[in-house]
Symmetry: C6
Subunit: 246 residues, 6 copies
């Protein structure tokens, strides 16, 4: 059901492998390996490459720790989309939306790395949360938290903007797929550990999944109401600074 990401020692080995190919000075591989938590092998290779590009841009003849810090965002967030400039009202909606995701992540016990309202690719904003530790197992509790976080962008729009935008559609699509998997592949619903195939049982399973998503939405709203000041503060900071790094 999932492809495990490299563990800490694996990441260290992968980093060493790629670092051997570029001139470096004073690199703390252990620190980089820790920061690369949640990276795939390809992400790591890409990171070393971007750091080398960063060094070249800066006129440095060797890659140093600082170049890795500067290029980590590009690996995590994807390249900026400079062709899109948000209007003020869209910026406001995006700031509330991302602040909702971020505060809900924290409220459900997760960690937020970065929140941004600079458009990247097709996304108007983004909230990055790297995994807390090297645990690869997905549990029912973690799945339900994920649903709450996915719904929190939309919840923030309803609560603080006063209406919901179509921009919440991709969150809806991901939450719906995740909820369906939770019922039909992981057996977390009262239907138990059976993978249904017939129309009747699949429709029954989807009813559970739909209820989960609705419940997660309700929980996202009550969570954000309880943390209104935090959401507001982050939204204000995002409008002022565009990107917030934790």
């Amino acid at each position: 059901v999932f492809i495990p990401l490299p563990g800490n020692s694996d990441r260290k080995e992968i980093l060493e492998y790629y670092l051997a190919k570029v001139p470096t000075r004073d690199i703390d591989v252990s620190a980089l390996a820790k920061q690369a938590l949640g990276f795939s092998g390809a992400d790591i290779a890409n990171w070393v490459n971007e750091a080398a590009v960063e060094a070249a841009r800066a006129g440095a003849d060797v890659v140093q720790q600082v170049h890795f810090q500067l290029s980590r965002d590009r690996i995590l967030l994807g390249p900026r989309n400079h062709g899109v400039t948000l209007s003020d009202s869209d910026k406001d909606v995006t700031a509330w939306h991302e602040a909702g995701h971020a505060i809900a992540r924290i409220a459900t016990g997760g960690t937020v790395d970065k929140v941004s309202i600079l458009p990247r690719g097709m996304a108007m904003g983004v909230t990055i949360s790297l995994p807390d530790d090297d645990t690869v197992f997905y549990t029912e509790k973690r799945l339900q938290s994920e649903l709450v976080v996915l719904m929190a962008g939309r919840a923030a729009e309803e609560l603080f903007v006063g209406e919901i935008s179509a921009g919440a559609a991709s969150d809806m699509a991901r939450a719906s797929e995740l909820a369906r998997a939770g019922v039909m592949s992981y057996g977390f619903s009262p239907m138990g550990p059976f993978v249904p195939k017939s129309d009747k049982l699949v429709a029954e399973a989807e009813t559970y999944a739909a209820n989960w998503v609705r419940d997660a939405y309700a929980q996202a709203k009550s969570t954000l109401v309880a943390r209104t000041s935090e959401v507001t503060a982050l939204r204000d900071r995002l409008l002022a600074e565009e990107e917030v790094t934790y």
Copy 2:
């Protein structure tokens, strides 16, 4: 869910890029960028090209502001279909139909740029509304307004012609797709933020969408009844002038 159009500064840059390729005099790029609100990058490139053609036709050796004004319609409306001549009764139906769209757009807080009963492509008439501002987000309110505007052509036929023509079919098809997206992709209905897949939930979602379209139709009719004099005035002007620019 949507590809954002270039913002104002982006449009200015795109205009400058293409204008650098043709001889020009006294062009107000800022004004053009504002008029290009709602244009894609390709529309802008096309506009510069059409203005150059317009200048050449006029025997001018440089492209000027006026040539842009003259060619903007062709970008917005598509080329005229000279092979079709409407009968008087068809002209009348078309005038009521487009007047319905236009007045409903204004009544729901939108702006109309141009209304025409000159056949273009497969369309007997057309009503153009550029976006009010650079906002890219689609909200439930905006979606419901759009449904009312789409239904207003048909509503005008029922109210003022006395019967509905099959020419309203493409409005119906677009409204139905938009309503379905509102329920199933954007989660604006009581079903909430779940993307259904099973036959049962999809059929339930479609029932909401069908009710939205019927409600929008009822609202379009009451809106036009309340603005009968405006609709009648615009219809009269369309019959007299064939195209009305706001």
Copy 3:
């Protein structure tokens, strides 16, 4: 939903374009354009060609008005199928069937151009009705009339022959498709202006369509009963003359 046919002035232009390619004398283009009401551009090109062939057969060195009159039927009706000779009883059924179509067309306010019981292509007989004017819009009233006319062939068989033949199958198929479009694409039923996609709503729509066809059949029968003498007279004339031109 429909490709508009050329209007009167368009037909005149098209005629002039093709007439310029053949030697002619004393052609009244305006009269021809009027007779070509309901012709597509290709039909007009074809008509000029057939008139030239007609002239050549007659040994004339220029195409004249008379050659157009003689070849107009071939454009309207398609070529005769000389391989099929109807038995007397089939001829009788066909005469009643076509008389039913023709009288119902007249009764619903339409115009009949020609009725024939000479087999053409796969059809045993044919009734031709050109459009009354250049109106391109299809309304609910026009659709319901069309259903009555399509059903009137079968109705005549039931009323005057005493039983229905399978020859009414193509009328049934066309009426069923038209009724379905009226409900699902044009929104003429109580379901209103929504284009259904889910099995449930499509089945509901089809029930309306089926009722329309049955109602049209009932109306066709009562119409023909009320005009029994007209139907009988036309049927007698068809048996005697095989083709009747109005």
Copy 4:
């Protein structure tokens, strides 16, 4: 819905066309055209060819009327399957089955040309009925008669053999398709002249079709019971002579 077969004069012309290509003497084309009732153009071409082969086998240097008589069966029935020899009990079942078809055809006002229990192709036996006249129209009455005739083979097995064989399966398949067409394409059922497409209406239509087939089976049985002596006589003659020509 149907491709009309050549009429009598058409058949005469087709015969003359093909006869012109082979040496003949004293051929009565009018008589042949009458015997070819129900033949397609290809059947007629094939018949002339088979007659020529027959003449060659007989050492005749010209094709004569007699050669046409000798080869007509091959056109009607297809070639004998000499690889199959029926056991006595199978011969008995086949004789009752074909006698049932033949007597039911006569009882419903039709004409039988030939009945055979000599295996041809995949069929153990065959009953040939040419059309009574050149009528091409299929009516509800004719369709219901056809269903009775199709069911009569099976009915004869049940009545006179005491049990039904799987050999009746192809009759069942043809009768079911014909009944479905009668309801859904010809509109002969209480559903009226509508061609259904949705699952619900198609299932309703099939219920009518199934009842027609069951009714036809009941009628076939009562028909054969009333004509027991005729069926028995024909079955006896078939066992004795293997082929009976009317």
Copy 5:
């Protein structure tokens, strides 16, 4: 619905055709044709070939009657699978299973030719029953008997082993297909002689088929209970001799 096998005289002819190609002495073709009851043309050709191989192995210069006897099993049963050796418990299950098939065949009036618990191909054991005579017709009674025989292997496992193995799955699959054909293609159920296509009628038909299979299973069990001693004797003999020829 079925491809008739060659009759007795046909088999004789086919045998003579192939025997002409190999050197033979004292062959009784009539006896061989009788033993080949139920063989297809290809089976017969294969038999002559295997007999020639048998003769060659035995160092004989001509093929004799005895070589046909020795090779008949290979034609009927397929080649031995020497790669599989059954454990004692599997041998026991197989012996009861095949004894069940064989005794049920005899109890329903059929004839058994050979029973074997030597693995061949994918089958652990096999029971061979050649047709009783040259009858090609499949009746309802014969179909119901076939279902009982197919179910008897499983029934024997339940009665004498105490539990059912998955090895009965191919019998289940064949019985289910046969029962479905009996209802839907042969019309042997109360649904009568109609071939259903719509989901509703097909599901109804399958319910009849499922009941037939269940009834056949019940009958197989009561049949074997009544003949316990015969089943036990055959099972004992199979364990001792591995193959029993009747």
Copy 6:
């Protein structure tokens, strides 16, 4: 339904065939054949090859019994996935999960060969159970036991970890397929020996299969509760030693 694996004597022959191709000393083929219970022919060929590789690595010039012991795991378990290092909490979940499978296998009368929490391929851990004897038949009892063993990993997570991880998804999928086969292909449910095809009967069958899986899960939990000390002991040993061989 199943491809029988080679029996004991077959395995001996296959071993002798492959051993003849490599230099060996003091090999006990009978012992190896017994240890290869449950191996396919390809597995055996692979085993001889791996033993030769093992010998080469050890600098031995002949393959000996010990090399077979050392390489048997690789055949059974697949190659290690050294790229994945489990976190301590994942290791704990995996240890409980595999201990659950292993103790349930023993509790249902089976034998466990090896339990491991070293990642191999996509699996975080693995429990190997070779077949007890050469029996190839799958019975209802064996199928139900298999369901209990498949569910026991998930049951151990619920009981001893306190929540269920998505890692149980592949067990769910296999159990669901096995239960469906038990109902629809082997006829072990109250639906009896019928292979359903229509939506209605297939959905009914799936309801039985779902209940079986749920019952197996309940039984797995009560089994593990009754054997808590055994599960705990094995989990402790797995955390300490990573692999336990029985």
